[in-house]
Assembly symmetry: C2
Homo-oligomer: 274 residues x 2
């Protein structure tokens, strides 16, 4: 990685150093930043980006086609060890597993299949369309989350569509959907890898529901499909929860780039935590 890329916060904070390598196994040391947190917990999308980057480096393939992360324990800012296992490396796709270990305990297990999005040659047919929202300068800037402690808000410039976030006023819309724009404040261009971050960076739309009071909405499992390499600017995204059952919920995201092209789809299983 050149000096230019390392000058951006997301690249610096997802950098990991290889300390051992044997056959299909690679061990890396990482430092989990406190700069991407909600409350005291590092954001799941940030952690997924950290692990996917280590997987892509191990596979020497550029684009995370599909990444699933199971969040086993709450991560903490500070040192962490990443253990990579290359599961299969074929011509078109490579698959590898990453484990994040902190204090001898496994915190996240992730699996990802990488490939090269620039090499696809099959047909296109897309019926999804980007959310119809005002331009970023007409959207609502500022923090929005289940807690006011959001170090992540210092790193990502997020503009919520008017009326998207209704729980802040105590006047819930009962529509578990929100949309908006996002980009990194330091000017880092949006790329395929950073879509894993954006897919979990927005506040949880479930909090708009009157039944869903929660201090925190921890993710059990997050899966992100990166479908195209994005243009470098703003992402435009919409997130919806359509089934809250027994306090568990799915959250589905569609992420578009600045040109309106669909670039990623995400789904997570999460639960309300009081």
């Amino acid at each position: 990685m050149g000096m230019t890329a390392m000058s951006y916060e997301l690249d610096r904070d997802t950098h990991a150093t290889r300390v051992a390598s044997e056959g299909d196994r690679i061990t890396l040391d990482a430092e989990i930043s406190s700069g991407w947190s909600i409350g005291s917990a590092p954001n799941g999308g940030y952690l997924a980006t950290l692990l996917a980057r280590a997987i892509g480096d191990a596979l020497d393939m550029p684009d995370p086609f599909t990444t699933t992360a199971h969040f086993l324990r709450v991560a903490s800012p500070g040192p962490g060890r990443i253990e990579i296992e290359i599961v299969r490396k074929g011509r078109g796709h490579g698959t590898a597993v990453a484990r994040l270990i902190q204090e001898s305990k496994e915190v996240i297990r992730a699996i990802s299949t990488f490939g090269d999005l620039s090499s696809l040659s099959g047909p296109d047919a897309v019926t999804l369309v980007p959310p119809s929202i005002p331009p970023p300068e007409a959207c609502e800037s500022g923090r929005a989350g289940p807690t006011e402690e959001l170090s992540i808000a210092d790193r990502v410039d997020m503009r919520m569509s008017p009326g998207s976030v209704t729980w802040k006023d105590g006047d819930k819309s009962n529509v578990a959907e929100l949309s908006g724009w996002a980009r990194l404040r330091d000017g880092r261009p949006t790329d395929a890898l950073s879509l894993l971050f954006f897919a979990d960076a927005f506040p949880p739309p479930v909090l708009n529901l009157a039944v869903a009071s929660a201090r925190w909405v921890p993710t059990l499992e997050l899966t992100v499909h990166v479908r195209r390499r994005p243009a470098p600017g703003w992402v435009r995204a919409v997130f919806r929860t359509r089934a809250l059952i027994g306090g568990y919920l799915e959250e589905d995201g569609e992420v578009y780039d600045e040109t309106g092209a669909l670039v990623a789809m995400s789904r997570q299983l999460a639960r309300l935590h009081r």
Copy 2:
């Protein structure tokens, strides 16, 4: 497992025998049936059910909350070895990994988080509704798939909503959506585990698109969230593909039970194969 359950085909064909156990690792022998195939390839939902069952047994937990399977190679009917690793067993959730090995090669890597759906106590809010389709007896019975060789069709009774499957007549609707009913022909009651099978048993809706000629639509990755234990009868399901990009596609499923309750959501990343 009692004799009653073993008398059903899906239970017999997902049975695996423990041959070794050491710490968090369990090895089982399985026999992949040729009775759940599309062409010569065993169906991905059948294989996911096989692995999730082994994971649930290892964790001693009843319900597969979220299961992701990466299909690395084409499986074959015949012997297979299942290697389980228990990743974490907590109070409410347990997570484990399963690897399916055939002829010394890893064919599938799956990860699943289990729990107990009967113990949930949080709030409900569901806006998804079942597809509005005629009753099973008014739907179209019979085989429908990219190939005529469908041993799976002898095991599952599938009734497609009229107009759902348009590629059979060479008169494509260009709507990548299909819906219908399904149940197992031998009367096996639908349960939480079998929802993994139903989530990948329907034909691929992408084949309705004129641009999408394919003999086969292999799955790279399948994730299924089981959200409620289903009533024992028919499942009613709808599957949609909204983004075919460069020959890769997502397929999203909503599965409801006979009472109309949402019981599972699925998403897979697949690609067209000529």
